[in-house]
């Protein structure tokens, strides 16, 4: 993976020093909260419901074991012994104290990490396919481009005060695991008719209160045009984007208010100005970055023992069936470690679990760790012969849950258990759904299912693109949950459709159970997934199931 250059190191250290002084000046009264707030947000420090929260960037979700161990150390030293992996491939610490934050940032800098641009109206952490460099269906590894974008966007003087935050996602595979259609800019690596590699560019996707699927503005952007083109998009947005109303400030609104043809014309005109200014240094830098992402030295060894173990051990087989993905080297597998044990907080890992994952990555995974936007941890390169031993260690650490892609593999934002913006809780709803379907022993029969829960309209929990989306709201001082159906965050992206009236907190799990039972009754065959059934049948039969017993229950 990429290692900091002297420039990166000096930059991050100087930011730690600056923020250390800023904290000192806040604590001695030289800075007011109004003055300090934008400074702390530039360094990822929020004030939440019960405490401060520090959001640490994990660039395109990639970590090495040393970094993971440092996150464990931070969790133990300055927090409550755990960290929360987020839907933007970052990690959040929920309990830091303000005077300790400079020491935390310094500890992060020791392992080439920081919290810069994890907040504010800037280009946020560039997210990528968590299977990058390993997936069998990949055109090319997207991480070198993500790293190029990270370097270009970090502290970019023109883009530190955008109208609103700006999110870029990139995938190198046909199967979109990075939700590119729901980002301000989505980049999909494709080949043109001549076999050259480039990008399909989407602009104006986003969730939140006005969910939209991004529009394709370029079918094929040559690799060498990436930075000038992205800069052109941001430049046009920076000029046109609304600063009078934060709810209308994202580029998706700019695009719709300006019109796709006009904004495309403006982007292309700006691109024509910018393109000659990129003299090739970016491409030389990209060439260097590529070296850092060379594939590991794959081992060549028999996999018979894996096959035999798989046949002999049903617990291992169940895990292998759900948590492994095809690797481009067929002796290898991509391991998704579920951080979704039934009844536990989605995405939370203890310091001890972080160390176990770091050790496993070092011993069996060529030192590579990924965080997925689905709040799981990936070991992208594991030789199949090592899987039984790895699985045994995971089981002991509470990390062996065989549920990836199933109904208990739920995305949930922190919700009102932590977040100051939340209108309702989301974590306990996720916990209870997972426990209920474990109790029913139904999740493997139900098959692929993505439930996504947000605790407010800002949609950090991606509910709009959940097969079942759950949105927690405050209705007249009571938690109320609105359900959407048919959302999809992949290459066939779609925004879910709202059902009728919302459900009280204690009625959400029964409502989800009715939906799932209806699906099991309605599906044409077990291979027809929930999403396929919704698309074939439409929403009506599911809506009927969702509301059918409500009246009866009220009357009882």
């Amino acid at each position: 993976m990429y290692s900091y250059s002297d420039f990166d190191e000096a930059f991050v250290r100087s930011r730690v020093a600056q923020f250390t002084h800023q904290v000192e000046r806040r604590l001695d009264g030289s800075l007011t909260e109004d003055e300090f707030r934008p400074l702390r947000l530039m360094n990822g420090l929020y004030l939440q419901l019960h405490a401060y929260m520090l959001r640490v960037a994990i660039p395109y979700g990639t970590l090495n074991p040393r970094q993971m161990r440092q996150l464990a150390l931070i969790a133990e030293t300055w927090d409550k012994g755990y960290g929360h992996f987020t839907t933007r491939q970052n990690i959040q610490f929920n309990w830091p104290k303000l005077p300790d934050v400079p020491a935390i940032l310094s500890a992060l800098a020791d392992v080439e990490m920081h919290a810069i641009q994890t907040s504010g109206n800037t280009v946020r952490n560039v997210t990528a396919d968590h299977f990058a460099g390993a997936a069998a269906d990949e055109v090319e590894d997207p991480r070198p481009y993500a790293e190029l974008l990270r370097q270009w966007s970090t502290d970019h003087p023109e883009f530190q005060f955008l109208p609103r935050k700006f999110k870029i996602a990139i995938t190198g595979a046909a199967q979109d695991r990075a939700v590119t259609a729901a980002h301000d800019i989505g980049l999909r690596i494709v080949r043109n008719a001549a076999g050259e590699v480039g990008f399909q560019v989407l602009v104006g996707g986003g969730l939140g209160r006005t969910p939209m699927i991004g529009m394709v503005v370029r079918d094929f952007l040559p690799v060498e045009d990436l930075l000038p083109y992205v800069e052109a998009v941001l430049s046009v947005y920076n000029t046109l984007g609304r600063r009078d109303n934060k709810y209308k400030a994202r580029i998706k609104i700019t695009l719709h208010e300006t019109g796709r043809d006009e904004i495309t014309r403006m982007i292309e005109a700006r691109f024509a100005e910018l393109r000659p200014l990129f003299g090739g240094n970016d491409q030389r830098l990209l060439a260097d970055i590529r070296q850092a992402f060379a594939p590991p030295a794959f081992r060549n060894a028999p996999t018979d023992a894996y096959e035999a173990f798989r046949k002999a051990d049903p617990v291992f087989r169940a895990w292998a069936d759900t948590n492994l993905t095809a690797h481009k080297n067929d002796q290898y597998a991509i391991v998704t470690i579920s951080v979704k044990e039934h009844g536990r907080t989605p995405g939370d890992a203890t310091a001890e679990q972080m160390r176990v994952m770091a050790d496993l990555a070092e011993r069996y995974g060529h030192g590579d760790i990924r965080i997925s936007h689905e709040q799981n941890v990936i070991l992208p390169h594991v030789h199949k012969s090592d899987l039984p031993a790895l699985h045994a260690v995971l089981l002991k650490a509470g990390l062996g849950t065989a549920n990836v892609g199933l109904i208990s593999d739920i995305i949930a934002c922190p919700g009102m258990d932590y977040c100051a913006l939340a209108t309702a809780r989301s974590i306990p709803v996720a916990e209870e759904i997972a426990l209920r379907f474990k109790e029913l022993d139904l999740e493997h029969e139900v098959g692929p299912m993505k439930i996504k829960i947000s605790g407010c309209i800002n949609a950090c929990g991606h509910h709009h693109v959940g097969h079942i989306g759950i949105l927690g709201l405050d209705r007249a001082g009571v938690e109320n949950y609105q359900i959407t159906l048919g959302g999809d965050g992949t290459e066939t992206a779609a925004i879910g459709e709202k059902m009728g009236p919302g459900f009280a907190y204690d009625q959400v799990v029964p409502a989800i159970e009715r939906l799932v039972r209806a699906y099991l009754d309605l599906r044409a065959e077990p291979a027809e997934t929930f999403l396929m059934a919704v698309r074939r049948l439409g929403l009506d039969p599911f809506k009927a199931a969702l509301y059918e017993t409500e009246g009866a229950q009220d009357a009882a």
């Binding site: 004030l47 419901l49 009102m416």
Partner: protein, 102 residues
């Protein structure tokens, strides 16, 4: 009864250094306990108490008036958000529910 009757309030904020939720008492302390808060039943007095809180820049952050009601042991929150702030998150035994247990 007037439809504009003032809903009783407490002044609440987070401690600057720790981030902990605190409540302004009638004798100008910051208490971690909601029931120790001063229950404010007059709008003008509420504004004065909020100004007093906002002036304590080295002690608290983000002071605001939150709806409350009188209870047997002192003021009680009325909105679920404020109830959560009195105890901490529901997924772990962390925050006030742990810090002041027993």
């Amino acid at each position: 009864m007037s439809s504009r009757r003032f809903t009783p309030k407490v002044v609440t904020a987070n401690r600057l250094r720790e981030g902990d939720v605190v409540y302004l008492t009638a004798d100008d302390r910051w208490s971690p306990f909601h029931h120790e808060a001063e229950l404010i039943e007059d709008e003008a007095h509420g504004q004065l108490r909020l100004l007093h809180a906002a002036g304590q820049k080295l002690v608290v952050v983000g002071a605001y008036l939150a709806d409350a009601k009188a209870g047997p042991n002192g003021p009680e929150p009325t909105h679920f958000r404020e109830v959560f702030r009195t105890r901490g998150p529901s997924n772990y035994h962390h925050g006030k529910q742990a810090d002041y247990a027993g």
